[in-house]
Structures are given as C-alpha cells and as structure tokens.
C-alpha cells in the first residue's frame, strides 16, 4: 500500500511540474483540476491493482490445467475428449470403471453375474446412491441411460459401444439384466467409457450445461473460456474424498501454460502441451514430472490402394528407411515408445515387433530396386496441423530422401486433411496419431482410409470379438499384431507418452491414461 501511495505521489508531483513551472503566482483552475483528475485516475487504474492483500490459500483446492475447453459437459453426446477429462469419474459414474492400470472395476454396479454363453449380464447396483440433485439412483436410471445411448435418435459419439445390446430389463430396484445379441468380451470394459455413464432421466437434457451425476464432485459453475469449477458432493458415499474444490482452467497456449505453472497459478497440468519445456520443470524442486502411457499410436499411414504402395516391397522399404529413435527425438523430444505394430506396448498382449522394421537403409534401397525403383520415386506426404505430426513428417521426409524416395511435404488444415485424406482417401503418405484404446480393429475395415483389404485379418477380428477366454484372446491379438506387421500396412512409429506436470506435494494423480479422463477420487495434498 505504501508503495502505491508513493507511486501516486510521484505521479502527482510530476504532473504538477508543468503546471507550476514559470507560473507560481497565476492560478489556472481548470488545468489544475484536469491534472488532479489525471492523478486520481492514475491512482485508480494503475496503482490499485497492486494493493490487494495476499489471498489466503485453502489447501484442499486443486487447480488443473487443460489445453482445450470442452464445447459442453455432457459425455454422452459427441466425441470431444475434453468433456470426459472434466466430468468422467468426477461428476458422472458408469456401471464399471477402470483402475489406473486400465483394469475393469466395480462402480455403480457393486457386482455382476455373467451367464455361461456370455449373452446375459446381471448387475446388482450400489445401495443408497444419490444424484447431485437429491434424487435416488436405481435400476430405472440404468435402463434409461443405456436405452437412450443406443436409441436410433441418439447422438452418442460411441454408439458402437452399445451395438451388441439386445435389451435392458429392470429386475428390481437394485438389479438390472442386460441381454446381448452376441457375446462381447469387451462389454464390461465398454461400460467404463465416458459415453456409457449413468444419467438422471429428469436432468439428462440439461447435462450439457449443468451436468448432474452420482460422482464424488458436483458441478458448481462454468466461466466460459476460463474455467469449470466442481465442488465436493455432500451426498457421495464412496471412499472419502480429500479435495473440497477443483478448478479446471483452460490454457491453449503452451507458453502461457508454462508461466501459469511456474507462477503457481496451477497445481497440475495432467497433459502438458510442450515437451520442450519439461527440463525446466524437472530441474525445479517445486514440481514433479509424471511420464505415463496413452492409447495413442503415431503411424506413417500409407495408401495401400494406390501404386506404388500396393507393392509390399515398397511399403517394407519405407519401414526400413525410418529411424524411429530420430523421429521420437525430433517429434516429441524423446517422450515416446517405439512400436513395431499398431498396438500399445503397455498392454499385456503386446508383442515387440520393432525388429521386423528395424532401421536399415541398405535393405531399404535393395527392396526398392527389386520393386523396380532403383532411382527411387516422387511422392507426397500430407501433414495435419498437430505439432508432433509436422515435426515427425519433416524427419521422415529427410530419412526417405536418403533412400531415394522424394516425398514432398504438404501441410494441411484439419478440415482439408479430414476431407482429402480421411474421406476421399486421396493421399500417398500421412502422419497421424490413432488415439482410441484397442483400435487394432480399424485394419479390418476395408474402406478405412489406408485401404488395407485382407480377409485373413478380418476373420481374426471377428473371432476376437466372440472369444471370451482371456488366453485365447491374447493369442488372437498377438496373431493380429504380427499380421499387420509382416504385411507392412503402415510404418508404425511410436506410442505417445502422457506428460504431466504437478506440484510436488500433490499425490494420487494418475500416471497413465487408459481412457481420456482425470480421475480425482484419490487425489490429495501431501506434506
């Protein structure tokens, strides 16, 4: 405050200087009024902001940073991942949930019974659960939510999750039976997705702007463009929650995200957007850096339906021409795990097949000449806007040039990329991350944009879906991984790491990201 007064006094004197100079005896009232007004306005607008007392920090508040602001807060409509990052597991709960390792655990369903043929699931529900608006949760809410999600008019972003459901029946207030059309080993896993959360029939239509769920945190307010605030729900009966309030703040600019963490305006940034700035955090004792796994595989997609890429030797030559280590270093500053097939390395069924496409420019050149391209060829590499794709694309283009494949880089906006590459399939090569969990099934879709048409693989995927025995499933998954690796469908680059930064005193944040969510039920402030 003293500082403020002193500052204003200086400013006032400074203004008075022109007034008084040479004119001590003559008073000119309007001018001096003007000057005074100036001084007070200055005091008000320039100095007052300095004068605020130190805000008292309440320790049970958590301020989390996010890059993207969600368009709405209803996880059952659309596909925006930013919605799930706020509401899933915090505001809304599903029948099942995932633990940090990605395994299915009980949630609103206390336990379940599966019939021998795998076609009938009977869920018994948790007793005494209330929605945030006070109404009691029961089996009818489950039936309503699942029927709503799979209805013809539903705008659920992941309707596939519910496509195997034949009927949902209420047996009693706390028991629900779900019948399936065909056995689906992923059914319990699917019910843990944000798109499968249980909503209240009375408030479902308002969830986009005022979400009401059964979770540990209730929605408080949304200052659009800045933050969403959740507060601890008094009606939650699960394990004790050790946070009173959570603010999700939206900061799209990586440099701003960095300053906000450094200034202490944020407590954690679970998906930090700028890997190049991480060394500053690792060397600072106030922060801990958490490197975990995600379900995102970055691949160099090859148009299998277009020559010369129809020839497996050309695709294989591309795979051998790429040095994954250099790509990972150049694209994500080393925060990635090399992959040799389209599968997440932290999954128990993963097979390391990177040796099939090891970095070997000599073999690459040999394969090219055998395919009739001893002088190489010209092609194009289309890159979407994310920074990892642009950086990886430049490294890859240089590596391909070394074996004679002259790839011209074309940078595209998302809309253009979607239309030209994804819909019209008018491309040669592109770099993209496939971020959905367990998405190896896309190779069984013959009209998918990279146009891999292989009946053997399609059969594998069909048998996988019907198989419930874990060891058999694992075997099929491994066969599938090998199949697309030896067919060199795409050049598999790396698994994206989840890089989080947090205050060193904060405990219980998830390291990995089995689904796109920020489960805060076990987060607390340590000493």
């Amino acid at each position: 405050m003293l500082f403020v007064l002193y500052f204003s006094y200086l400013y006032y004197n400074f203004l008075m200087k022109f007034h008084v100079r040479n004119s001590e005896k003559v008073r000119c009232v309007p001018a001096s009024c003007l000057l005074k007004t100036f001084a007070f306005a200055f005091l008000f607008f320039c100095a007052v902001p300095f004068a605020q007392a130190e805000a008292v920090r309440v320790p049970r508040i958590l301020r989390l940073g996010m890059v993207l602001e969600p368009p709405h807060l209803d996880p059952t409509i659309g596909v925006a991942g930013a919605v799930d990052e706020i509401v899933h597991a915090n505001i809304f709960e599903g029948l099942t949930r995932l633990n940090p390792a990605g395994e299915v655990r009980a949630s609103l369903a206390r336990s379940w019974y599966i019939s021998d043929d795998g076609l009938e699931y009977v869920f018994s529900l948790r007793r005494g659960v209330r929605f945030h608006d006070g109404s009691i949760f029961d089996a009818h809410d489950v039936k309503f939510s699942l029927d709503r999600a799979r209805a013809g008019s539903s705008v659920n972003g992941q309707k596939d999750l519910f496509s195997d459901i034949l009927s949902v029946d209420v047996i009693d207030a706390l028991t629900v039976r779900v019948r399936l059309i065909r056995a689906n080993a992923d059914f319990l896993y699917n019910m843990a997705w944000g798109n499968a959360v249980i909503v209240n029939p009375k408030t479902a239509s308002q969830n986009a702007f005022h979400p009401v769920g059964t979770g540990p945190f209730a929605f408080s307010r949304w200052v659009r463009g800045d933050h969403v605030t959740l507060v601890k729900s008094p009606s939650y009966q699960g394990p004790s929650i050790r946070l009173d309030r959570v603010d999700f703040r939206f900061i799209p600019d990586p440099a701003a995200a960095f300053s906000a963490m450094m200034a202490g305006d944020l407590d954690a940034f679970p998906r930090f957007p700028a890997p190049e700035l991480l060394p500053r955090f690792t060397s600072d004792p106030r922060f801990s850096v958490i490197v975990g796994t995600t379900e995102g595989e970055v691949i160099l997609s090859i148009n299998n339906g277009r020559s010369p890429f129809r020839d497996i030797r050309v695709r294989r030559a591309i795979a051998h021409a790429i040095d994954r280590r250099a790509v990972i270093k150049g694209a994500v500053f080393g925060y990635g795990v090399p992959i040799g097939t389209h599968f997440a390395p932290h999954h128990p069924a993963y097979v390391d097949l990177t040796s099939l496409s090891s970095y070997d420019p000599v073999r690459s050149g040999f394969l090219l000449s055998k395919a009739g391209f001893s002088d190489g060829f010209e092609t194009t590499l289309i890159l979407p806007p994310p920074i990892y794709a642009r950086r990886a694309g430049e490294v890859i283009a240089a590596q391909l040039r070394a074996v004679g494949i002259r790839a011209r880089i074309i940078n595209m906006e998302w809309a253009q990329w979607l239309e030209r590459v994804f819909e019209r399939k008018d491309f040669d090569l592109t770099v993209i991350a496939h971020t959905e969990a367990m998405d190896i099934g896309i190779y069984a879709r013959p009209d998918y944009y990279f146009q891999y048409k292989n009946s053997e693989f399609q059969k594998l995927m069909k048998s996988l879906k019907e198989m419930t025995d874990p060891s058999r499933r694992r075997f099929i998954l491994q066969q599938a991984q090998k199949k697309i690796a030896v067919d060199y469908v795409n050049a598999y680059l790396f698994q994206v790491s989840k890089i989080g930064v947090s205050n060193v005193k904060l405990r219980g944040l998830w390291r990995d990201s089995p689904l796109q969510l920020n489960d805060l039920t076990s987060v607390y402030w340590g000493d």
């Binding site: 400074f14 203004l15 200087k17 022109f18 007034h19 008084v20 100079r21 040479n22 004119s23 003559v26 000119c28 001018a31 100036f38 306005a41 200055f42 607008f45 320039c46 007052v48 902001p49 300095f50 605020q52 602001e69 368009p71 709405h72 659309g78 596909v79 972003g157 986009a208 702007f209 200052v223 659009r224 463009g225 800045d226 933050h227 703040r249 939206f250 900061i251 799209p252 600019d253 440099a255 701003a256 300053s259 906000a260 450094m262 200034a263 202490g264 305006d265 906006e413 998302w414 809309a415 253009q416 979607l418 239309e419 994804f422 819909e423």
Partner: protein, 316 residues
C-alpha cells in the same frame, strides 16, 4: 453540422454493408466442408447431409448471404455449432472481458502517454526529453507479445504480485478482475502510449512554433498557461484521431495478448472458432468488431468536426 452528420451516417451504413459482404464471402471460400469438419471422424454421410442442410450449405452463396444478413438485422446471430448455444450468448460473455480490457489499456495509455508527450515537448533537447523519446522508441519497436511475456516473468513468476493470466469472472468482484486485467492492459498500452506521446510531442511542438503562441507569450501569458490554453487545444485534434484508431486496434488486436494471458476475450473466441470451423461464430464476432470499429470512427469524425470548424466546412 446536421448535414455533416447525415453525410457521415450514410457513409457508415455503406461501410457496414460492404464489410458484411467481404466478411461473408471470404469465409465462404475457406477450403474443406465445414459440416464434415464439425462432425469429426466417425460421422455418417446422413448426419453430414443433415447438418449441411441446417447450415444452409445446400443453397447458393448469395442466398445464404441474405439469410444471414436478414437474421443479423433482427438481432439473431445464429447458433454456435461447437457450443450448441446462441452465438450472442458467447459474444455477450466475451464482451465483458474484451471491452473493459480495451478501455483499461486506452485509459492507461492516455494517462501516461499524454503527460509524457507534453513533458517531452517542454523539455525538448534536455536530458529528460531524450530519455522520454528513447523510451517511446523502445515502446514502438518492442513486440507486444514479447513485452507481455516479460511482464509475466517479472510480476507473476518472480514477484508473484499478479496472476499469470486467466479471468476470475465479474461475480468475483471488481478488484480481482482489475488485478487480472492489469498486466494485459499494461502490455497492450505500452506501444500505444508511446505512439500517443510521440504524436502529442510533435503536434505540441508544432503548435508552440506558431505565431499565435509567440504572441500569447509576448503579451505576458505564462508559458504553462500558454501551452495548456492555446497550444494544446490545437494540438489535440490529431490526438483524437489517433485515440479512435487505437481503440479499434485494441478491440481487434488483443488476440495475441489474450492468448499470452489466456483471457476469454473476443479475440480468442474468434481464434477458437476459426480452428473449429465454427463459421457462424467467426462471422458474428468479426461483424461485431467491424461494427464497433466503424462506429468509433464515426464518433471520432464527429468529435473532430466539433473541435475544428474547418473540417466541417471542407465536406459541406
């Protein structure tokens, strides 16, 4: 004066109509199908078709223009596709960030730039004058975003006096809002106050070299009084034009600063809407900013004319 007013008013309407045509058709030529883009990877042909119809993408561009302008005239900005709320609601929230910020920055640049300019004119060719001129040069040449990052580094990271960005919302009270807008306003005003100070200095110096100023001094008016009453009044006209221009550039040009301080203002709304191809929002906001700029220009012309009778005569 009335004649002048109507003349200007008509030209204002023309500018608005022309701007709306340019805004509409430039955005219309953006590559990519906005409907497919908005719906993402998993959308079916059917839903894309339905959305195209909803966005009137199936009729000719000229007809779409008239549909758009018609609903604008009735106050309907349309529905944002990504947020699923009326565009006006989005704009309304952002206006309460962007306008106060622009106004705050403008006030700062007036309260600091104006006296600095007067002082520099008075202390011409002294040490103080040189220091002021040098600082102004710096202010004009340092990029805004760099200065903003410097401010964040000093006042947020090192000193922790101010938040590094964000907007608490008006419901938190006046002081937190002012605190959060202070650094952005300073960053925005630095280059503008330098421009202002330079203009004040030059036009004041010019006025001080005029005959009437010398006459005033000769008949015994004290120097400071001669400056405040005679020179400044004549020097102030270019100043008002400059202020008008600055307010416009503050409204439209705060986008970089809004990104550095992650403020939810109009600039960031446009930026987000462009990246998400929410063309309805882009058009609405750009039109609104254009409207504000044209109206401010109109007001500036009117006040210049009120201050300087010569301007009125030249046109009438």
């Amino acid at each position: 004066m009335l004649h002048f007013f109507w003349w200007r008013f008509i030209s204002l309407l023309f500018s608005l109509a022309f701007a709306s045509i340019v805004i509409f058709f430039i955005l219309d030529t953006l590559p990519g199908d906005p409907a497919a883009f908005m719906l993402g990877l998993n959308a079916t042909e059917e839903t894309i078709g339905a959305l195209r119809e909803k966005l009137h993408l199936d009729v000719s561009a000229v007809r779409r223009y008239f549909i758009w302008i018609g609903s604008l005239l009735t106050g309907d900005f349309g529905m944002s596709h990504t947020y699923q709320v009326p565009v006006w609601e989005l704009i309304k929230e952002r206006i309460f960030v962007s306008f106060p910020l622009a106004f705050y920055a403008l006030l700062l640049s007036i309260f600091i730039g104006f006296p600095l300019g007067v002082l520099a004119a008075q202390c011409n060719q002294t040490f103080l004058g040189t220091v002021i001129i040098g600082t102004n040069q710096l202010g004009v040449s340092v990029p805004e975003f760099w200065f903003a990052i410097l401010l964040v580094f000093i006042f947020s990271i090192l000193l922790s006096w101010f938040p590094s960005g964000g907007f608490p919302g008006w419901s938190e009270g006046f002081l937190p809002v002012m605190k959060s807008l202070f650094l952005p306003a300073v960053a925005l005003s630095f280059s503008r106050l330098s421009v202002l100070a330079r203009v004040v200095r030059f036009s004041l110096q010019e006025a001080m070299s005029q005959d009437y100023f010398r006459t005033a001094l000769a008949k015994g008016v004290p120097r400071s009084r001669a400056i405040w009453y005679h020179a400044l009044r004549n020097a102030i006209i270019p100043l008002i034009s400059i202020l008008g221009l600055q307010f416009s550039s503050l409204l439209a040009g705060a986008i970089v600063i809004e990104n550095v301080f992650f403020l939810p203002g109009l600039g960031r709304l446009v930026f987000q809407a462009v990246t998400q191809r929410d063309l309805i929002v882009v058009r609405g906001v750009v039109m609104l900013i254009t409207f504000a700029v044209i109206v401010v220009t109109f007001l500036v012309e009117l006040s210049c004319a009120a201050l300087d009778p010569r301007l009125r005569k030249r046109i009438c």
